[in-house]
């Protein structure tokens, strides 16, 4: 045993990065069981109960400890336990997990124990990650505040009266609160980047097709993409590398092998690490509606990138104003189709009215099982797809989508990434926007285009409001251009400490 083992027990595992934890487990400085137990204890202390954050819908202590013991046994036998050996990972509750209830934060799926693991989950397990539990979200990933969860909102670790953002609110909060160093979420219109920004962590929506969607409950198939959250850029890269790559079970998965991210991290970490990179500032994203503190923080971050060697230019994405309307045709249309399978016949909840026929069962089940926002979007989508209206709505939206993608293609001829605010505001109060769906939809105004164009988009912490709420910088890149985003993030992290700040949880302070 090396001298480094003397460190064991002195560092709280819940403050360590995934990279450091995996290294410690592989070098037998920490056992996977110790790491897992410490994280489970922190979750039990700060997430559960009336005043807890409610990031986890359920934890799987038995499964997590069994997986941890398996990693420890591998280490003991001298076998390779994987690059995420012993790293606790939480999953948004739309990742299908074998023998572990999966609900999408919906009553309609309550009680469903899947018989299989999705591809991303299987890859995490194969890399030695410990699945500690399933995370809160907006029901079926529809929402921007995590308030549409059938099991209550997730509170923001920086201020428990505020939202985490959404839909992957639990995934963002869990990393911010130190419940696990890596979580997975999905991003259909900003559902990774916006909550990452609102909780002060890093999150990336990879290029569409980089990560398999097999075993991820679909919201809008042509927009959904799986991505990780992490507390530092190195962990984010590590998690993305583990889950990336072609999957024959997902026909939309990219066959081309994505490049390793190590070189980009190393390049970004060097002085003047951004020399040769050009960052575009799309004028349509710097608009009066954005909160002044957010705008100031983002502009400061861009100056930081410039001082690290990046060339910064003004660019235009002229079809940006159409993104919201386009998104709210395509996403509901696809969700109205994807959610047709929740009919009470085979799994989840079934409501059978006495004496009712099959149609009555379908209606009662879906009436009782789906929340308001899900119903609203199913109705919007059903309307958009009905016979005779397809051309006017869905097809037209797809055409506009092509124009939006073309905007980006043109811009990326002259720059390697664009930088924008992730969200127009910092975290808002729980209940503040629930009465007005359109105000809620506007929370995603900066993040939707990226999904429509299928591009990679990252949010990194870039400062705080005077009230102490995190602000996010969004970086968007070319298709499969994640490396440039990581280079920028690494350079920024080397020059600032925003990402290293952790909230003091209300319960900790108490």
């Amino acid at each position: 045993m090396s001298a480094a083992s003397t460190g064991t027990g002195t560092t709280d595992p819940t403050t360590m990065s995934a990279l450091a934890l995996a290294r410690a487990v592989r070098q037998r400085e920490l056992s996977a069981r110790e790491v897992t137990t410490a994280h489970l204890a922190r979750i039990a202390a700060f997430d559960k109960g009336e005043r807890g954050l409610n990031a986890f819908l359920r934890t799987d202590e038995a499964g997590a400890l069994a997986a941890a013991d398996a990693v420890d046994a591998k280490v003991a036998r001298g076998e390779d336990p994987g690059v995420l050996a012993g790293v606790p990972v939480g999953l948004k509750d739309l990742f299908v997990t074998e023998n572990l209830e999966t609900t999408c934060a919906s009553k309609i799926l309550q009680g469903w124990i899947p018989p299989y693991d999705g591809t991303a989950v299987a890859r995490l397990r194969a890399a030695g990650a410990i699945i500690v539990g399933k995370l809160n979200m907006d029901e079926f990933a529809m929402g921007s505040s995590n308030e549409n969860s059938a099991f209550g909102p997730c509170r923001n670790p920086w201020d428990p009266t505020r939202v985490t953002g959404g839909s992957s609110g639990g995934s963002a909060a869990a990393v911010a609160a130190g419940f696990c160093p890596i979580t997975l979420g999905t991003d259909t219109g900003g559902s990774i980047r916006q909550p990452a920004a609102l909780t002060g962590v890093l999150g990336i929506k990879p290029t569409y097709g980089r990560v398999s969607r097999y075993g991820v409950v679909a919201f809008a198939s042509s927009l959904d993409q799986v991505g990780p959250f992490a507390g530092c850029v190195e962990d984010l890269a590590l998690a993305l590398e583990v889950i990336s790559g072609h999957d024959p079970l997902d026909a939309t998965s990219i066959v081309e092998a994505p490049s390793a991210l190590g070189p980009a991290l190393a390049a970004g970490g060097r002085p003047q690490g951004l020399a040769g990179l050009t960052v575009g500032l799309p004028r349509e994203y710097f608009i009066p509606g954005t909160d002044a503190e957010v705008d100031a923080a983002v502009r400061a971050a861009i100056r930081e990138l410039e001082s690290a060697g990046a060339r910064v230019i003004d660019v235009s994405l002229p079809h940006t104003p159409h993104a919201l309307a386009t998104y709210y045709l395509i996403a509901p249309a696809e969700c109205s189709s994807n959610l047709a399978r929740f009919d009470g016949v085979r799994y989840g909840r079934r409501v059978q009215p006495p004496g009712g026929d099959l149609a009555a069962m379908y209606q009662a089940t879906r009436e009782a099982g789906f929340g308001d926002e899900v119903k609203r979007r199913i109705m919007l989508g059903t309307y958009a797809l009905r016979s005779g209206y397809y051309d006017a709505y869905y097809r037209k939206a797809q055409q506009v989508r092509t124009l939006i993608a073309d905007d980006f293609r043109k811009v990326f001829a002259s720059c390697d990434a664009v930088a924008t605010p992730t969200s127009p505001t910092a975290a808002f109060k729980i209940g503040e926007k629930t009465a007005d769906p359109v105000q809620m939809y506007l929370a995603d105004v900066f993040t939707l285009s990226c999904n429509l164009a299928g591009l990679p988009g990252m949010s990194i912490p870039c400062g705080f409001t005077r009230a102490g709420l995190p602000i996010g910088l969004q970086l968007m890149g070319r298709p499969l251009g994640e490396a440039a985003l990581f280079q920028l993030a690494a350079a920024y992290a080397a020059r600032t400490d925003h990402a290293r700040r952790r909230p003091t949880l209300a319960l900790e302070a108490a």
Binding site: F95, G118, A218, D250, Y347
Partner: protein, 488 residues
Amino acid sequence: MSATTTSAATAAPDFEAVIGLEVHCQLRTASKMFSAAPTHFGAAPNSQTDPVVLGLPGALPVVNRQAIEFALRIGVATRSKIRARSRFARKHYFYPDLPKGYQISQYDEPLCEHGLVQFVLDGQPREARLTRIHLEEDAGKNTHLPGRATSLVDLNRAGVPLIEIVGEPDLRSAAEAGAYLRALRQLVRWLEISDGNMEEGSLRADANVSIRPRGQSALGTKTELKNINSFKFVEKAIEHEIARQIDVVTSGGRVVQETRSWDAERGTSFSMRSKEQAHDYRYFPDPDLPPVVVSPDWIARVTSALPELPAQRRTRFVEALGLPAHDAEVLTGERALADWYEAAVAAPSKADPRKLSSWVQSELLRVVKDTPLAECPIKPDMLAELVALIDAGTISGKIAKDLFARMLQSGERPKVIVDREGLTQVSDTSAIEAAARAIIEAKPKEAAAYKAGKQQMLGFFVGQTIKAMGGKANPQLVNDILKKLLES
């Protein structure tokens, strides 16, 4: 209900029927249209499933390349235009046998369009145009338990690859529709892409039927006739529908656009749903599946691997082998049979193709009714040898029939049996004469009758003489010698 009979309908001179068939055909792939789940027919309920087939949350479809290849085969064989890029679309409706709440099908961008089906009716070659051939997945099966409020769902069939072959309304009679459907069945079996078994449901036909006054070019209101699940009922069901429509119109009514279900047991149909009750399927391109791209190279490979098609082979059998049209049609009914027959023609014995054809039809087809041709102990070259032995006068036709039965039992070559058992036909006139004399002496009464002018008695003596010689006597020689002896 109409009292109109089938015969009245076909006899009605004032109306013409316009028929188009929509034929669903299960492809015989090892796995399902969009997943690796197996496709065994008759397996335990819900055993041929996986997360994709069950429509579990998170499961995604992946196209079965073999299914595309099979669809390309029939596309090329029907001279269809193949789309370089076709798309799958979702067709939505709620039903317990449809696990996802939508069926993955093709809608506005099908794989094949504008094909042609060649078929024969009453010995006359005909053609009918195809609108399209597209790929889709089959649904599962609901079983309603009699007397109970429960239904059972079996998803074994769910996700089985189907092609839907949509025909133009080019057919003008039930008989023509029947011949067309049989030609399609022959084609899918010929191309080895489907079992084409209507009774097991691997081939299903819906008929769009309308009538119009003869000479009118505008189409009448059509009805869609479903549930014609046996070849036996195709003509009958369509004829019934034509008669029903004629009856409606001649009694002053109007045909209503509706979907009707054929009830084979009662020989009638009933309305399932009207146009107003039709679903809005909310078709849109399936975002889980990228477009199917078929390269010219792929089409070229399929084309060059295509077997000679039934129509071409029929023509060649007539023109090159001198077969009557009917024989050619029978022999090309199944590709395996045509192959078998051609192997016999090509065998070293060089037997006469026409005689081989009649042996195949009268003897071989009789014995292989319930077993695959490939398992028949009599191989093509053995039948050719047998026919050649008859032609050479080595054995009689009667001996040949016995030999055929014995070959079927033992799988031995005919020459082997003939040589071992001395079955060679006796053409030695002195031996025949001796036997014939003995018979005439033993039957004086019959001999006298013949001499008195009762010519048909000759047959009696021929039979007796051949029998006395163990069947091996050359019948023509026996005939000639008996005539000579009886008339001397």
